[in-house]
């Protein structure tokens, strides 16, 4: 090692461990959770590490209360997170909706396993992508993030906190059993190099403070409980004061703003990786661990002389509608491999507006999609 050079932080860790470490690096100071496979290691790591940095960990009596405690702690000023899997994610939905309505920053990790119901606790799946979008009732905005490696889980957990804090919205981090449990060698960045965003605090005096103020940015500055700002928070439709309203214009104004804020900042929220050959007829749209298989299949197909366009979102909600439309305009077919029955393929089809055919490649048997399965489909289409 050259003198003065920083010692590299190289480790072999799982995605679940990377998630816990990323959360701590992002400033997590409160975690509430409930044991469930395959996410429990996130809670285990944080039960050990949080008190060492003065943070708080609690194993609650159930999934519902874990989500409630997370919202409470966030309102009291701490960066907060919970982690779960399929059945637990179902149980969190009501309070997840509360967090969208009351605009409480928090991160909800769902390490996806096979469903429905108890399903396949130890096997991977991507069948909760639509639940992440529409699992809670009512028209609501959401951000959902889909990392595809251990290192990316670390980075995107930090990003989940950043987006959540900046836009006052719960962010769902969708891992799957593969990413959660696979061990990979990673080099973690020095924490001083990280970009960390915090919630926007009010400049107003407590007397003038409106907790749901309509501002030019659509993001109301957020005070914490116990800081001299005495305000009210409710899951009822409310006006700028935070108190409930039944007035039509106030209802419309709030719900429009809530949904508009993600739409408006979608370009800043989304991150897509595109690797496009010129004049390709085939596109592939893949996310999460399946995108690793797709990436390999693309490399193998290129070796055989097939031109291809590969698009991978790291944020699945909001959906990269524009990028998919552009891809569809330039190719004849788009392959969408996923470990479900085609939940995102339908979204790709909708965004393609009939400009390209969408070809689904699905597995629901608890096994990951093999690169060769995707390669075979590419070669079949190419011939």
């Amino acid at each position: 090692m050259v003198s003065g050079e920083r010692k590299k932080n190289i480790r072999v860790i799982t995605g679940n461990e990377a998630c816990a470490m990323g959360a701590l690096a992002a400033g997590l100071r409160f975690f509430a959770g409930y044991p469930i496979t395959p996410s429990s290691e996130i809670a285990e790591v944080l039960s050990k590490e949080l008190p060492r940095v003065g943070g708080k960990f609690i194993q609650m009596e159930d999934e519902i209360s874990s989500m409630g405690a997370v919202i409470g702690a966030s309102l009291a000023g701490l960066k907060s997170m919970t982690a779960t899997s399929g059945p637990g994610f179902s149980l969190k939905q009501e309070n997840l909706g509360y967090a969208t309505m009351a605009e409480v920053p928090c991160v909800v990790v769902n390490v996806m396993r096979g469903g429905p119901s108890t399903g396949l606790p130890t096997l991977p799946s991507q069948a909760d992508v639509m639940q992440a979008r529409w699992g809670t009732h009512g028209d609501h905005p959401i951000i959902a993030i889909v990392p595809n490696s251990v290192r990316e889980t670390y980075d995107l957990t930090i990003r989940a906190f950043n987006l959540s804090e900046r836009y006052r919205i719960p962010v769902v981090l969708l891992l799957d059993e593969i990413i959660g449990h696979v061990n990979e060698k990673v080099e973690l960045p020095d924490e001083s190099e990280l970009e960390i965003w915090d919630r926007i605090r009010p400049n107003d005096s407590p007397e003038d403070y409106l907790p749901y103020k309509f501002t030019e940015s659509d993001i109301p500055p957020m005070a914490g409980f116990g800081e001299g700002y005495r305000f009210h928070v409710t899951g009822l439709v409310h006006n700028e004061t935070g108190f409930p309203t039944n007035k039509q214009h106030e209802i419309k104004k709030l719900l429009t703003r809530l949904n508009r804020k993600v739409e408006r900042y979608s370009e800043e929220i989304m991150q897509n990786y595109a690797d496009y050959d010129d004049e390709a007829d085939i596109g592939i749209f893949a996310y999460g661990s399946t995108s690793r298989s797709a990436r390999r299949a693309v490399a193998l197909a290129r070796e055989k002389g097939v031109r291809i366009k590969f698009l991978r979102p790291t944020v699945i909600w909001p959906f990269p509608e524009k990028e998919v439309a552009e891809l569809a305009a330039s190719v004849k077919k788009i392959i969408v491999p996923e470990m479900n029955l085609g939940q995102i393929a339908h979204e790709v089809e909708w965004a393609s507006r009939g400009q390209a055919d969408v070809v689904k490649l699905n597995r629901i048997d608890g096994e990951p999609i093999n690169p060769l399965e995707i390669l075979n489909l590419i070669m079949e289409i190419a011939s």
Partner: protein
């Protein structure tokens, strides 16, 4: 005392029906807070869903109106994040012991320093008078049209068995006793419950032919027996009676203090 100091006047009038006892409990809570001399900034009041839970909208503290049954869960997060806050949970019999029953007993088990004021009106008032876990057996409700076939909960007993530091039961008839219980509950380190019996003439009294608010108040008076007097009475004599007073007052380790000691032990207090 000046009650209006604690009231968000812009949000009046209250939604509660004529004859409802919830306003009496509200005043008892405010008297207790005023007597202790707590500042409005150091109180966080958290409620669930139901008639009583609407209280948080009317009082000028840090206030949180949560989802049905989950007030104690949200309050747990707040208390852990800011242990210096006095966190008071406002809830009802359905909210705390049906949909939120799990949180109620586990918060008592942890003995986390929350004060729960549980408005027990023996019915789901806001949704129109459905049967609750404290509706007496045989009583009528909109979902028990032939009389309630179920046994009811002793919700104070539940908190005691689960490990609460302090449990008291009072009625809105004895409103001046009620504020003393609430005062003690707030000052008590640990999980404290004050079960406040409050009449719902609209959804319970009318359907059960007890009558209006005053008639229900009279009944509360007749049914109340102090905890000391109750010790001398037989089970038969205590049938249909409400045992009032301080039922539990004991010293037990408190959760947030325990957790802070844990942080100290692992060196986290330095960061």
């Amino acid at each position: 005392m000046d009650y209006m100091k604690y009231i968000r006047k812009n949000n009046l009038p209250l939604i509660w029906c004529p004859g409802c006892g919830d306003g009496i409990v509200l005043k008892a809570i405010l008297r207790a807070i005023d007597r202790i001399g707590l500042s409005q900034d150091e109180i966080c009041m958290v409620s669930g869903i139901g008639c009583s839970s609407r209280l948080t909208g009317y009082v000028d503290f840090n206030t949180l109106h949560t989802t049905h049954g989950r007030a104690i869960a949200f309050a747990t997060g707040i208390k852990m994040a800011k242990p210096e806050l006095h966190v008071i949970v406002i809830t009802g019999d359905g909210d705390a012991t049906a949909i939120g029953g799990n949180h109620y007993i586990h918060a008592a088990r942890r003995n986390i320093d929350l004060t729960v004021v549980l408005f027990n009106n023996n019915i789901y008032g806001m949704t129109g008078g459905q049967v609750s876990p404290t509706t007496p057996i045989g009583a009528r409700a909109s979902t028990a049209p032939y009389g309630n076939p179920e046994n009811s909960f002793n919700i104070s007993g539940l908190a005691e068995a689960a490990g609460a530091s302090f449990v008291a039961r009072g009625t809105v008839y004895d409103a001046l006793q009620l504020d003393k219980y609430i005062e003690k509950a707030i000052l008590k380190k640990g999980f404290s419950v004050v079960e406040a019996l409050t009449p719902c003439p609209t959804a319970f009294g009318r359907r059960n032919k007890i009558g209006n608010g005053p008639a229900m108040m009279k009944l509360l008076k007749e049914q109340s027996v102090s905890v000391n007097k109750a010790k001398k009475l037989s089970e038969e004599e205590l049938k249909d009676k409400i045992i009032t007073g301080i039922l539990v007052d004991r010293e037990l380790p408190e959760y947030t203090e325990n957790y802070n000691m844990l942080i100290e032990r692992v060196g986290g207090s330095k960061s």
